[in-house]
Amino acid sequence: MAPAIAVEDLTRTYRSRSGAFRRKTTVVEALRGISLSVEPGELFGLLGPNGAGKTTTIKILTTLLLPTSGSARVLGLDPARQARDVRGRIGYVFGGDRGLYDRLTALDNLRYFADLYRVPVAKKRARIAELLELVGLTGREGERVETYSRGMRQRLHIARGLLHDPEVLFLDEPTIGLDPIGARELRDTIAGLHAGGKTILLTTHYMYEADALCDRIAVIAAGTIVASGTPSDLKGTVANQTIVEIETFGAGDDVIERLRAVRGVSAVAVETREQAQVVLVQSPVGAEIVQALLRELDGSTLGKVVTREPTLEDAYVELVRSA
């Protein structure tokens, strides 16, 4: 079966100019030749930090941007040259507060987009009711969107993207800015769509989200795909590693650099959790590094020290760090 999405050596360069007289041109290479393939019915995750090229990829596939070079196919069609044909068969949902008419009701928004997306009149009312039910907004459709919480807006976005029952759904960081409950509800909705057979390309920078939802993941960093496979495959890239988590308070950059220099340390990352910094140190299984690390941290205020198995997040950090 032909892939639902096929991308081959795709590049995209942005050029911007600034200054009134001495015009300065800035060139940013957002994509540096990425290739990926998504099978029909698959939920594929594009995982990467901000500015990695996730949104650029999605915008090229949804016909909103032209690539600089390379090829892309969505349902066998070229989104650059056959934009109109592609648009009728895909749905595009992005995260955040935007993309809706705030002063109008949810129903007004859905009715308008249903007409724009050629939903037949006979089916329109039933389809809108069905989608409101699916995203849990039944009974709230008569309220203005500006009164909605972020989670409700995001669910309304999903309903809008599904109005014409697209074969492929593009979700660009749909849970960004949502509270944990809202994000969980939205993930449940996405899982339900996947279970119903939709092909979904999801971009996210939340590792647990990709781990929980995706069949396969591609990790993108600085416009390049640095790894791809199932979540288990990616975890396998750090399977021979152990993680030491050390909770510290006020450890400076010089201390972190000293930890990196400890014999046997593969990688060091730092996360801020409330007042504490949590230092994540990767090392090969069997390397006895804890005592050496604690020696380097002598004089710093320490909290918990935990040794554990690597997670997808550790794999991701390692992949992005080494990109």
């Binding site: 942005y14 935007r98 724009l116």
Partner: protein
């Protein structure tokens, strides 16, 4: 396509009318322009001149609402993030955009009623209409033609992020070139032919001739012809500019 068009009209008129600032501008502008025209012309002894000036003021408002309304609406769509969604729809972009400009023209038709009522109530401008049928057709025909001129200019707004500023800049040149602000007779001769290609010229003539007597149907024919030409040019421009915006990544403000 027709359903999408009328749905778009409904949604944009609704958007327009829930904004108190836009609504107050619609209510106040024609009254302001009509008052200025009355005092400027000092036409107490020439009721026909006063009526003509009132109608001119109404058409001025119509154009202002179209060009500012559509440029403002496009900039607003960009901020709301909905411009990308309109482009991403399977409909031709012109079908998504035309309701925005025509809705502004339709709202502008109100300015005609407000101007005439204001003139009659305060300045004793006569309300006698020579051909009510021609008048009833001329008003929506003018709104449509001016809306389509707005669509043609709105095509350029798609590629410029500061669309509203461009809209403001387009307001006065059309007022001047169509003789709405100052009579064409006081302008250089080369301005005359330019006015023939601008819908407000024929829209104003159609409404004035229907009210005061004159070849209103000929003027309306010109409005209809320009509507078709504007739409054809706008459809081509929109396709070209949409590709330009896709290449330059200017559809979204981020």
């Amino acid at each position: 396509m027709t359903r999408a068009f009328f749905s778009g009209m409904r949604i944009h008129v609704k958007q327009f009318t829930v904004n108190a600032f836009d609504l107050s501008a619609v209510v106040l502008w024609p009254i302001l322009y009509a008052s200025i025209a009355y005092y400027l012309l000092d036409g107490k002894n020439d009721p026909e001149l006063l009526l003509s000036a009132s109608l001119g003021a109404a058409v001025m408002t119509m154009w202002a609402l179209v060009v500012l309304g559509s440029s403002g609406a496009l900039e607003n769509q960009r901020w709301l993030g909905t411009l990308e969604l309109l482009v991403a729809a399977p409909m031709p972009f012109a079908v998504a955009l035309a309701p925005i400009t025509i809705a502004s023209g339709v709202v502008g038709a109100y300015s005609l009623v407000a101007t005439l009522a204001w003139g009659a109530l305060l300045f004793d401008v006569p309300l006698s209409i020579d051909s009510p049928l021609a008048f009833a057709v001329a008003v929506p025909m003018s709104a449509l033609a001016i809306g389509m001129l707005g669509l043609m200019t709105a095509a350029t707004f798609v590629i410029y992020r500061a669309a509203f500023h461009l809209g403001v800049a387009m307001q006065y040149p059309v007022w001047i070139a169509t003789g709405l602000l100052v009579p064409l007779s006081v302008l250089p001769a080369w301005v005359g032919p330019i006015s023939w290609f601008l819908a407000p010229t024929w829209g104003f003539r159609a409404i004035r001739d229907a009210a005061l007597g004159g070849p209103a149907w000929t003027d309306m024919g010109m409005c209809a012809l320009l509507t078709v030409v504007y739409f054809a040019v706008a459809a081509v421009c929109l396709r070209v500019f949409e590709n330009f915006a896709r290449a330059r990544a200017t559809l979204r403000l981020t």
